[in-house]
Symmetry: C2
Subunit: 341 residues, 2 copies
């Protein structure tokens, strides 16, 4: 195991920053003592929060930054107007090779835009992508893209499949992961212009493409990786959250109808909570941004300390398994093959 | 109330045809005695099934057809190769004005294709659309389109909003229904090429457009009608089914872990079933195909007798409220306005 992996935490990013970010960093250090964490943000605020923890951590460093990107900031404007944001400073550290990875629970659009502009795309990658894990009836399935690009071309979906395969194979240790294309029908001829053409490209890609899958199949767990346009992926990711919100509201409503129903729901609640936990993607430790020259793990704005801890651990895994190097090699090989043809 | 509305039932369409179709027709007649039902399909099979019901129904007619479109048939091929299908004969009856509406739980693609080819589009409508009801935290929301067209242009989404508004206003009696555009962000500038342009068109459409909504908001019930490309609508409709499948599987898995958990789930199950019922779109009586010259209500292949009954009642409502006449008027008015400009 490579020692001393250095992770920068965008300490001002999330809705509960810097508290959850700092607590998450401490949790990560408790579980992996060889780790080095750089907390980027308002130094005095971070120092005062850090003092509330009993231990003194020698492998936490603080790098000061004076600006904060909010959830409402426009990503491109923030890139111009807030050069000293905690996000930008974190990326700057990665660019200078002072850290190996960054994690951020901040404005997702800003993390994406800043990462692409600051780090650049891996040679041969047309569109970087963000993947997200979905719970299924069997195992975890990862959906690419969940919103990095909203007007994808067929070749981009193939890139997602290729990068996703590498991530899955090396981070989750599942060789030759199965890939499905999200579509409106199983037959090759079904779909819109994008999916019909992508289906053909995936078939001849050399990847383990098992064919089209429908919305109903996303959570079945028959495939490891699902590729789709970022618009569609974003809609279903958020829609899944909406289904859970609705269920919770319905449970509450049901409990309010009578004392007996309240008792019934009270008895069922622990069970339900346990089951719904599987849907809580915060447990899974953020989502990777693949295709840029650096390791970037993105979390939900509402990320808990546990989620942030898991994001940091995920970042370490991605660095240790040299995912980016493998993506680089695969895309340069691809380029060479094309040139040789 | 207009008397004697005539509804053709594609008796060979669904997965449990003709049994559920016939039982659904009987249930509908029991609740509305002024109704006339034409069961279209294998006459002897239908007659023998009908005899199992005690009452003799004078307002059921049977029209024989010799061919059946299966769920695996290609819609366009079936249109050519099976002219005497129960679906085609039902549509023929509507075309000859021998019935006022048809309902079918058969192959959705075939119902769509046959309806458009046989009945034609309403003048001014570029793309007919299928809408589906989703349960929400407040009231029912209807999503257009759920798969009639998978490569929509902005003008088509505006057509969906317009037809959906008329349907909602006259069938559900909600004046000036609120319309949301499904998107990846709330701001007008967010989205893909399709949604950014559609946003602008909807703003100047004179409809009650409240703006973009995200995946998470679909089930909140803040809007009456949600418009989106049929690809996206189809994916989220089926994905919602997949979420329920997953929850059921998780409940079962949880119950199997220990006797105590089995007892817990046993106590919770009635409650859960009650709550999940809201998600069962079979209760809602099928989905309308809007924009063709005729009233067509489409059901899930697995439609229960209750679902088929509700589809027939929905068809009656659409006929009684002259939804198609109102769509025709709105689209011809629109055309006139354009010509006068």
């Amino acid at each position: 195991m490579k020692k001393g992996i250095r992770v920068a935490v965008d300490a001002m990013g999330g809705d509960f920053a810097p508290g959850n970010e700092i607590e998450g960093a401490v949790l990560a250090l408790n579980s992996n003592s060889s780790l080095k964490i750089v907390l980027v943000g308002n130094k005095s605020e971070i120092e005062s929060k850090l003092r509330t923890f009993n231990n003194s951590y020698t492998n936490i460093e603080i790098v000061n930054s004076t600006e904060v990107i909010t959830m409402n900031d426009s990503p491109t404007e923030a890139f111009k107007s807030k050069p000293d944001s905690s996000l930008n400073v974190s990326l700057e550290l990665m660019k200078r090779n002072e850290v190996d990875a960054i994690v951020s629970a901040g404005n997702t659009g800003a993390v994406l835009t800043h990462s692409v502009l600051k780090l650049g795309r891996i040679n041969g990658v047309g569109r970087p992508t963000i993947g997200s894990l979905f719970p299924t009836q069997r195992r975890m399935t990862m959906v690419f893209d969940i919103g990095a690009s909203v007007d994808c071309k067929p070749v981009h979906l193939v890139e997602y499949a290729k990068m996703g395969s590498i991530f899955f194979e090396h981070v989750f240790k599942i060789p030759n992961p199965k890939i499905g294309l999200l579509n409106v029908g199983e037959e090759d001829s079904k779909g819109n212009d994008l999916t019909i053409e992508t289906n053909g490209l995936l078939k001849s890609s050399g990847l383990n493409f098992i064919g089209n899958i429908e919305g109903r199949d996303v959570l079945k767990g028959d495939v490891d990786i699902i590729v789709c346009d970022g618009f569609v992926g974003n809609v279903i990711l958020k829609f899944a959250e909406g289904v859970l919100d609705l269920l919770k509201a319905k449970f509450k409503e049901f409990a309010s109808t009578s004392v007996l129903n309240k008792i019934r729901m009270g008895m069922a609640y622990g069970t339900l909570k346990n089951i719904m936990k599987d849907f809580d993607y915060q447990e899974y430790g953020g989502v990777p941004l693949l295709g840029v020259n650096g390791v970037v793990i993105i979390g939900h704005g509402k990320s808990s300390p546990l989620a942030l801890k898991n994001m940091i651990i995920r970042a370490v895994n991605v660095v240790q398994n040299e995912v980016n190097l493998k993506i680089k090699n695969a895309f340069s090989l691809n380029k060479q093959n094309k040139e040789n043809q």
